[in-house]
Symmetry: C2
Subunit: 127 residues, 2 copies
DNA sequence: TATAGTGGTTTCCCATGGGAAAGTACCCTG
DNA sequence: CAGGGTACTTTCCCATGGGAAACCACTATA
């Protein structure tokens, strides 16, 4: 994404930051279950692989949205929690959830209408 | 993204719908410049290729977020505009813009702090 | 006749990223 | 001494998607 486009659409940086794959499910789980260990997180995200979970957690930590606490014990113990900065995203997530509840059915209906119209065209072209 | 994860994080469907690459810049331009022709849109999104612009516009049309109007003239003329359903996203975009203005600097600071700490570690390991 | 302009489509290519599976270092337990 | 648990890391592979460039039918214009 070029600078020109970022200027044309100021929400793009936030998209790269918050809405890339797996970041919102992780933040969601951290917000709703509190402080969790690596394997607990993995259990809450059944299809994520450890490699990707590590990558996303590092990114969230670097961006200040999650906090990683390393306990130098044997065996080692690591805990992750959402940060204050991460919690500022809560109203955003609520707004999206609300929009979803209010308007996703309309999107679904639009898709069905569009697909039905395309099928209509095809059968008309054939018949 | 599996059903289990979609249940674990209800905003995922909206992400796939609205926050995939190029969809928000396009909606943004359509909202701020009104009804536009294909080449006008392309001029507002300087780095997008016609192939991708077509793909995204088709997707937006199918999802009911944009409206395509074809005028069977010579030369043909096509106009795109944001739909009423697409306009319901405006508060969402505003919320994201507000969050961006309020908290992106904190993210940037967190990144610098994280990177600085990592460099510190490296020089410590070397020296 | 050549060129431009319309709204795309088609082909090819390549980088990115995610998934699977195995490995790693450490120690405790049986 | 084998196996398990912790929190990853590493390697390999492959699908997806985006970008570049050329092409398309049609007509008005020079």
């Amino acid at each position: 994404m070029t600078d020109a486009v970022e200027q044309a659409c100021p929400i793009n940086p936030v998209i790269d930051l918050v809405f890339s794959r797996w970041t919102t499910p992780i933040l969601w789980v951290l917000e709703h279950h509190g402080r969790l260990r690596f394997n607990e997180l993995q259990r809450h995200l059944p299809t994520i692989t450890p490699k990707v979970l590590t990558q996303r957690l590092r990114q969230l930590e670097r961006d200040g949205l999650a906090v990683r606490t390393y306990h130098a014990e044997i065996p080692p113990r690591v805990e992750y929690e959402i940060s204050d900065l991460g919690r500022t995203l809560t109203p955003l997530f609520s707004a999206i959830t609300d929009w979803s509840a209010a308007h996703l059915p309309a999107v679904s209906a639009a898709r069905h209408a569009y697909d039905a119209a395309r099928e209509e065209e095809e059968s008309w072209a054939q018949g």
